[in-house]
Structure formats: C-alpha cells, structure tokens
C-alpha cells in the first residue's frame, strides 16, 4: 500500500519543474520511495549552495522500532540551473540481529530534479533515481564481505530506487 502511494505521489510530482534556489537555502522534510531497499518513508535535511547540494537522510521509524534502519549522506551537483543534479553518497543499513547488529554499507549514485507541483512557496519537491551498490557488509562474529570478494555478482548486490523528497524551507 505504502509503495503504491509513493508511486502515485511521484507520478503527480513529475508534472512540472520548479526553479531551484538561487541563494543558499536549507530544507527539511520526508523522503519516500517505491522499493524496499530502505524503509519506505524517512526524514531528511538539505542544504543548497548554488549548484551544490548536501542531503542527510535519517530513519526515525527504524531507530524507534530498533528494526532495520538506513542512514545516508548525499552530495549533488546541478548539471544546469534548476535542472537535474548528479548525486553521490553513502548509505549505512543496520539490521538487528540476536545480541548485535549487522551493517551493509552502500555507495549511491543517482540523478535528482526539482519539481513544481506544490502550491506553497516554502514547500518543494524533488524526484530522484538512485542506484545503490553494497560495497561492504559486516557484523560482529560474522564474515565481512567486500564487493570484490563476492564470488558472483547478482541482483542482491544492487538496489534501484525511485525517490520523492517533500521538503519545507527556503533561502537563508
């Protein structure tokens, strides 16, 4: 159900493009996605300085339930003003195990673009396509795997995500 709602929101969101902030700006909001690589809804904050952007995405629901949680940082560079940004970053997925936790650390590459579907001035929406690859997974008393140590690459090493970020904020 959650994934269907996210898909619908993204479909609505892609109907237009909103101009990017020309001045340094700060935003905070939610990050929703269609796949199950992370929780389907997380929280995030973003800073934009010209064409450069920085995002931190955290997982309050995962922290609260002490189940799986996924935290990440992303940096982006707008390929042209108010246009698509090239994104790169790092995600740490933490899974609960008996007496400990297991970690999957992933590099993220992606594209993101501002949207213009929201009517209020201090709200904005961004859509993103992300490709995450698990570079290392590790946990106490469990084998550590680096990507290049995998005997055979397979679908489990990669994750493709369609993301929508709904945020409030504005220029500093």
């Amino acid at each position: 159900m959650g994934r269907k709602l996210v898909s619908l929101a993204i479909a609505i969101g892609v109907m237009g493009v909103r101009p990017a902030q020309a001045e340094p700006a700060v935003f905070g909001g939610i990050d929703v996605r269609t796949d199950l690589g992370t929780q389907w809804m997380r929280a995030g904050a973003a800073v934009e300085i010209g064409r450069l952007s920085f995002d931190a995405i955290v997982d309050p629901y995962g922290y609260w339930t002490r189940e799986q949680h996924d935290s990440e940082v992303l940096a982006g560079w707008a390929l042209w003003p108010a246009g698509w940004s090239l994104m790169g970053g790092w995600r740490v997925s933490s899974l609960p195990l008996l007496g400990t936790r297991y970690y999957q650390e992933k590099a993220i590459l992606g594209l993101a673009a501002p949207l213009s579907a929201l009517p209020l001035r201090h709200l904005r929406a961004r859509i993103g396509f992300e490709w995450a690859v698990t570079l290392v997974r590790h946990g106490p008393d469990l084998p550590t795997f680096w990507l290049w140590q995998e005997d055979e690459l397979h679908g489990g090493s990669f994750n493709l995500g369609l993301v929508l970020r709904l945020e409030a904020g504005g220029a500093l």
Binding site: T65, E67, L95, L97, E152, G156, S157
Partner: protein
Amino acid sequence: MRRLCSAAVLLAAGCSRPDPLILCHNANCTGKLVVHRDDTLEALRDSLAVDVDGRPAWDGIEIDTVWHGAQERCTFAHQVRDKAPDAGEAAALIADHLLTAETPSWNGSLFVLKIELKPVVGLDLEQHDGSQERQHAECVLDMVDTVQAAAAAAGVDLEVIADSSDDGLLREVARRPRWRDIPRRRLSADFGAPRPFTPDTPKLSDFAGVPLDVIEFHPGWLTDADVEAFRSLEVDFVLWMFSATPELLAAIRTYDPEYVNTGEAELMRRWIER
C-alpha cells in the same frame, strides 16, 4: 505459522515477526557465499558445523542432485560435473550428523531434508529421458532411506522435501510407493530467475496435476502476479536467496514463508531470533 511478536511489539511497531524454518542452501551455508563450493562434501561438512549458541543454525539441509547422463550415475552437485561425488555420500554425511549430533537442528526435534532434482543431465543442458527420470527418482529415494534410518535410530523427526523445476521428475518421485511410505513428505516446485536468464525455469502450468505442497521462489525475480498465483494454490513457500539483503528480509516479512533457504544460516538465524 509460529509467531514470536508480542502484543506489545505488535502495537508499537505494527509488525508480525515471521519465524520460518531455515534451510541450508545448496549444502553451503557457512555465510561465505562462495558459489563454487555449492553442493560439495567439504562445504556440507562445514555447514553441518555452523552453529548459534551451540545449536545448528539451520533446521535442515538442501542437497542438490544431478543425474550425470554420460557417466550414468547420480551425483551430489549443482550442475553436471565429472568429478562430483555420488549423491549417496552426501546422504551418508547427513545420516552421520543425525546419529552423532547432540542437537540435530535448531529446533531440536525436526530435521528437514530437502533434495533438489536438477533437470539437466549433460553439459549441453540435455534433459532427462524417461529412463534417467526413473533412475534419478530412485536415487533420491535411496538417499532418503539412508537418512531416514539414521533419523529413526536417533529419534529425530524427519521431513523430506523433494524439489525440482522439472515437473516430470516430481511426477516420477510422487508415483513411487517408497515416496508414499515416507511419513512426512512434501513435493516442491522450484522457480528460479525468469527465462531467458535461466533455461530451466518452469511455468506454473507445467505442474498441473502434481500434488504440490510447497513452491520455492526468489522474491526479487518474480512479479506480484506470479506470487499471487502461487498463493491461490494454498501451498507453503520457500524463499531462496543469494545474500540476505534488506529487500529479501522485507520479503520474508511480507510473505511469512514456512522455509527460508539461505547460504547465510547464522546471519538469518540471528535476524529471526533478534
């Protein structure tokens, strides 16, 4: 299906925690996911020793069998391999485990022996002829005899799953009186990656008339419609995987399968028992 979530956790987190039986995928579940060790005696020995808190991490072992057409013998292997050991050697190792282990499996009383019958008999992906189907089915039942005798001697409850992507092999197993004499037996249809990624993935309709108890599939490779079709048959599920990714763990929560077939038995056990 057993449930472990307490009412408090249900209210707090809205979860229902699955508690599947864990199977040792391809007799190679030490967690290293070294594919070329799949279905080797060395990996089987190592896997039988994988433990969590002094108990086997798994509830059962999956053994793959290949009928080697050119050598006319039944092998313990993932694909046709000239130097593969006879399938009976794997059964003997498991029988020895049941006779000597203090605890036969994680759950302490039930051991699941899952035997997959691979459909290919030659290096050029040749399929079984009728005679080879019969010999392959007999081979599997010989393995069951070996393990069943050990289980009886050790006082262990044994469940046997005969699994294949080849409906003809399952029909051949199911029609044999020796199969029907197994007290706790299950027939399983096995679905891998969709065509053309793997050549031996069946269609569900291929199994028409086969009294399936179980369907095994990789949740990342099939559509929701496929899985809903499986659900309509009211069978139990085996979810198999390469590595335990967040998506796979989410699928376990979604489908609540009876069995999880994994190469990372310790990791999976510690996730389930968290």
